[in-house]
C-alpha cells in the first residue's frame, strides 16, 4: 500500500499517540492480554478464530478466548452475565444494531484514534461503518462480510436440467426451478427450515424484487413500505421457494441437504457465503457448484449484508488495554482479514484487499464484485434474518410471521403482509 502522508493522517496519528497511553505502554512494559468471547467454537469458524489467536500470540500477546457454542444469542447470554457481574470480556463478538443496544449498558472503548491511525474508515462500506460507531465514535470493528442471498447452483443439478444459463431475475430463477422439477428433481431448492433460513427466503425475495422497498420496510420500518405491493410480491415469491423445498427438512438446517445438492438431487441453494466454508469442510470441491449473486429483478446485484464484528469493553487493567489495541490493529490488518476470510469463505471488510490470488475462490471473487457493484448502485442492504437490520426483539417478531407463513401454506400473502405490519407495531 502506498503511503501518502496527508495532514489529516498526521493529525490522526498524533491524536492516537496522545490518546492511547496504554498503547504506548504496550510496546514497553506490559504483556498484552486479551479476554474474548465468541460463538465460534468449531468447524471453519473455530479454525479461523484459532488462527487469529495464534497471530495474537506471535505478536507477544496472551490469548484467552472462551467460545460459547450455539447461536449468537447464547454467546450474548454469557456476555450479559459478565456485564452484570461487572467483569466484561476485553473483547466480544457482536454485530449489527446490537452493537448500539449493548453499548448503552456498559462502557466501551473509544477506538477512533487507532482506527484513524490505520486509515480503516476509508476502506469500509459507509452503511457498515455506521453500525460500528453508533454514537459517532468507533467502538467495534467489523471483521468479515457475508452476503446472505448468494445463489448456489449445483453443477450436476444444472446438467440434469440441461440448463447452462445462470438466473439473474426472479423470473429466470422460477423458470430454472420449474425446469429442474420437470427434469425429475422432486425438490429443486436445497434450503433448510430453521427460523433464520425462512427469514433468508423472504429477505432474498424482497431485496431482489426491490432493494428500495427492502430498505424502507426492513431497515427503516416505514409503515407505508411495510404494507406496500412489493411486500406482497415478496411473500408470493417466498411461497414459491418454499414449495420447491423439501418439506421433510422440518426445522433442520440447510446443511443436511448439502449432499443432495452436490449430487444434483437438488439444484439450487439460496444461502450466505459461509455455506462455501461448510461445503469445503464437508469435503466437497469448488467445482461441484457455482456461486452467483441472488436473483435481482433490475438485473444489478443486490447484496444482503451480514458482517461479523468485535466490540471492545472498557477494562482498567493495563495488560487488557494493551491487548485491546493489539487486537484492534490485527482485526483491521489486510493480511489478517485475508487469512480469516480464506478459512471461513467470507470476504474481507476492507474493500482494498486483492482477491485475485490463489487462496481465494471464484465464489469469493463473485461476492466481492457483487458488493462493489451493489454499493455503487446503492443496492447493498443490511440483512434482516441475520440480525443486521433490527435489534433481536424486532427481528424475532418479524421472523415469527415469516416462518409461520413458510410453514403454513393456507396463509395468503395479503394476510402475511398485514400480520407482519402488526408484528412490527407490537414489538416496537
Amino acid at each position: 500500500m502506498p503511503i501518502t502522508t496527508t495532514r489529516r493522517r498526521l493529525l490522526a496519528g498524533s491524536a492516537a499517540a496522545l490518546a492511547l497511553p496504554a498503547f504506548a505502554r504496550a510496546q514497553g512494559a506490559v504483556k498484552p492480554r486479551l479476554t474474548a468471547i465468541s460463538q465460534w467454537s468449531a468447524g471453519s469458524d473455530g479454525a479461523a478464530i484459532t488462527a487469529l489467536g495464534k497471530k495474537f500470540e506471535e505478536k507477544g500477546g496472551v490469548w484467552q478466548h472462551s467460545p460459547v457454542p450455539g447461536f449468537t444469542t447464547d454467546m450474548m447470554n454469557k456476555l450479559r452475565a459478565q456485564i452484570i457481574a461487572g467483569d466484561p470480556p476485553a473483547c466480544s463478538q457482536l454485530k449489527g444494531p446490537e452493537i448500539a443496544a449493548w453499548s448503552k449498558i456498559a462502557p466501551t472503548v473509544d477506538l477512533d484514534a487507532v482506527v484513524a491511525a490505520a486509515g480503516y474508515e476509508k476502506v469500509v462500506a459507509p452503511d457498515l461503518a455506521k453500525l460500528h460507531k453508533p454514537a459517532g465514535k468507533w467502538i467495534a470493528l467489523p471483521l468479515q462480510i457475508y452476503s446472505t442471498n448468494m445463489l448456489f447452483l449445483s453443477k450436476r443439478g444444472m446438467d440434469k436440467a440441461k440448463a447452462d444459463k445462470v438466473p439473474v431475475t426472479w423470473a429466470d430463477f422460477n423458470d430454472l426451478a420449474e425446469k429442474m422439477k420437470s427434469a425429475g428433481m422432486a425438490y429443486p431448492i436445497a434450503n433448510g427450515g430453521t427460523r433464520a433460513d425462512d427469514g433468508q427466503k423472504f429477505e432474498a425475495s424482497l431485496a431482489g424484487i426491490s432493494p428500495t422497498a427492502y430498505r424502507a420496510a426492513c431497515m427503516n420500518l416505514d409503515k407505508k413500505a411495510l404494507e406496500g405491493p412489493e411486500m406482497k410480491a415478496a411473500f408470493a415469491q417466498t411461497r414459491k421457494i418454499s414449495d420447491w423445498c423439501d418439506p421433510n427438512v422440518g426445522v433442520q438446517p440447510y446443511a443436511t441437504n448439502l449432499k443432495r445438492f452436490v449430487d444434483g438431487d437438488m439444484g439450487m441453494l439460496i444461502m450466505g457465503g459461509w455455506a462455501q466454508g461448510v461445503l469445503k469442510n464437508a469435503g466437497f470441491k469448488f467445482d461441484d457448484y457455482v456461486i452467483t449473486p441472488g436473483p435481482s429483478d433490475n438485473g444489478k446485484p443486490v447484496f444482503l449484508l451480514n458482517a461479523d464484528a468485535f466490540i471492545f469493553w472498557q477494562r482498567k487493567e493495563a495488560d487488557l488495554q494493551a491487548g485491546q489495541m493489539l487486537m484492534a490493529q490485527l482485526v483491521m490488518d489486510p493480511a489478517i482479514q485475508t487469512m480469516y476470510s480464506q478459512i471461513t469463505g467470507s470476504i474481507p471488510v476492507r474493500t482494498d484487499v486483492d482477491l485475485t490470488g490463489a487462496g481465494w475462490s471464484d465464489g469469493q471473487r463473485t461476492t466481492a464484485a457483487a458488493l462493489k457493484n451493489a454499493m455503487g448502485n446503492n443496492q447493498a442492504v443490511l440483512s434482516l434474518a441475520h440480525n443486521m437490520a433490527q435489534e433481536n426483539g424486532l427481528t424475532a417478531a418479524i421472523i415469527d410471521v415469516i416462518t409461520e407463513y413458510v410453514k403454513n401454506k393456507t396463509i395468503k400473502p395479503d394476510e402475511a403482509v398485514s400480520r407482519l405490519a402488526e408484528a412490527v407495531e407490537g414489538a416496537r
Binding site: 447461536f71 450474548m76 450479559r80 418439506p247 427438512v249 422440518g250
Partner: protein, 309 residues
C-alpha cells in the same frame, strides 16, 4: 446409633449437649430447606418485580405497570402457546394415565417376566427429555423415520408426516411425552393395585363378579388418590415442558408447537426482552398455581377428614 439413643434417654443431660446432639439433624434438614425456600421465594419475587419494569437487555428499575403483560398476552406466540398447553396438557395427562393404568393392570396378572417388562416400561423415565426428543424427531421425520421405513418395506401409500404438519405436530410431542412418562404412571398404579386388600377381591369373586367387573367396581375406585397424584405430577410436567419440545420440534413448524416455557426462554434469552420474559414466566406461575392450589386444598381436606375419622 445405639450410642446416640442411650445418651438421649440418659437423664440429667444438659440442654447444650441436647442441642449438640440435634445439630446434625438441624444442619441436614433445616439449612438446605431454608436456603432453597429463600432462593425460590426471593427469585420469584424478583421475577415478579422485573415483570413490571421496562427491562430489556439487563434488569433495570422503573415501572411500566401491566405493559409487559399486555404485550405478552396480545402476542401470537403466547396465544398459540396457551392453546397448545391446553391441548397438550389434557391429551398428555389423560393418555398417559390410561396407558399407565392399562399397563399396570396387564402387569398385575401375575405374568412371567414381570420384572423385565416393568423395567422396560419404566426405563424411558431414566432417559433425559432431550434424548427422547431427539430420538423421536428422527423416528417421526418422514424423510428418514417411520414413514421412510414403511415406504422401503413396500407400503408406499403409508403417510405419517405429523412432525412437519403444523396441525398435527403438537401430537408428536404428546406421543413422545407419553412414551417417556406412562411408565411412571404405571409404577404408581401397580403399587396401588398391589396394595388392594386381597380379601376384598376374593369377596367380590365369591359374589360372582368377573375380572372386568372386579376391576371396574372394586379395585379401581380404591386407586383414585393415586390417580390424583399422577394427574398433578403430570400436569406440572406439562405446564413446564421445555426440553422435550425444544429437542423435538423447537416450537415448529413455524410457531405451531410453541409452549409457554419456550416463549419465556425465547423472550428472555433469544430476544433480550427481560421484562416481557418475566411477565410470561409469572403467567406460567399463575397457571401452575391454578393446578397446585386446588390440589393442596384437596389434600388438606382429606387429611382433616382422616384425622376426624
Amino acid at each position: 446409633m445405639t450410642d446416640v439413643a442411650s445418651t438421649a434417654t440418659r437423664p440429667g443431660r444438659s440442654a447444650t449437649s441436647e442441642m449438640v446432639r440435634r445439630l446434625p439433624e438441624f444442619l441436614v434438614i433445616w439449612v438446605p430447606l431454608l436456603l432453597s425456600a429463600a432462593h425460590l421465594i426471593s427469585f420469584s419475587i424478583w421475577t415478579i418485580w422485573i415483570s413490571f419494569t421496562p427491562s430489556t437487555l439487563i434488569p433495570v428499575t422503573g415501572w411500566v405497570g401491566l405493559r409487559n403483560y399486555n404485550s405478552v398476552l396480545a402476542s401470537r406466540n403466547w396465544q398459540i402457546a396457551f392453546d397448545n398447553l391446553l391441548l397438550f396438557g389434557i391429551a398428555f395427562v389423560l393418555l398417559s394415565l390410561t396407558t399407565g393404568l392399562l399397563l399396570a393392570i396387564l402387569l398385575d396378572q401375575r405374568i412371567r417376566g414381570e420384572n423385565v417388562l416393568r423395567t422396560i416400561f419404566l426405563y424411558p423415565l431414566a432417559v433425559s427429555f432431550v434424548v427422547t426428543g431427539t430420538v423421536w424427531s428422527w423416528l417421526l421425520n418422514p424423510g428418514i423415520g417411520i414413514e421412510k421405513l414403511a415406504h422401503d418395506l413396500g407400503w408406499t401409500s403409508f403417510h405419517f408426516d405429523w412432525l412437519v404438519n403444523r396441525d398435527m405436530a403438537i401430537w408428536t410431542i404428546v406421543i413422545a411425552a407419553i412414551w417417556q412418562s406412562s411408565g411412571f404412571a404405571m409404577a404408581l398404579f401397580l403399587a396401588g393395585l398391589r396394595s388392594v386388600d386381597s380379601d376384598i377381591i376374593k369377596a367380590a369373586q365369591i359374589d360372582g363378579a368377573g375380572p372386568v367387573r372386579t376391576y371396574w367396581r372394586v379395585i379401581l375406585p380404591t386407586l383414585w388418590p393415586i390417580t390424583v397424584t399422577v394427574i398433578v405430577v403430570q400436569l406440572q410436567f406439562a405446564i413446564s415442558a421445555f426440553d422435550l419440545v425444544r429437542a423435538l420440534t423447537n416450537g415448529g413448524p413455524g410457531i405451531a408447537t410453541q409452549l409457554p416455557a419456550l416463549v419465556v426462554y425465547d423472550l428472555m434469552f433469544q430476544r433480550s426482552q427481560l421484562g416481557r420474559g418475566a411477565a410470561a414466566a409469572v403467567l406460567m406461575l399463575l397457571i401452575l398455581l391454578a393446578v397446585l392450589l386446588p390440589y393442596a386444598a384437596w389434600r388438606y381436606v382429606r387429611q382433616r377428614r382422616a384425622a376426624h375419622a
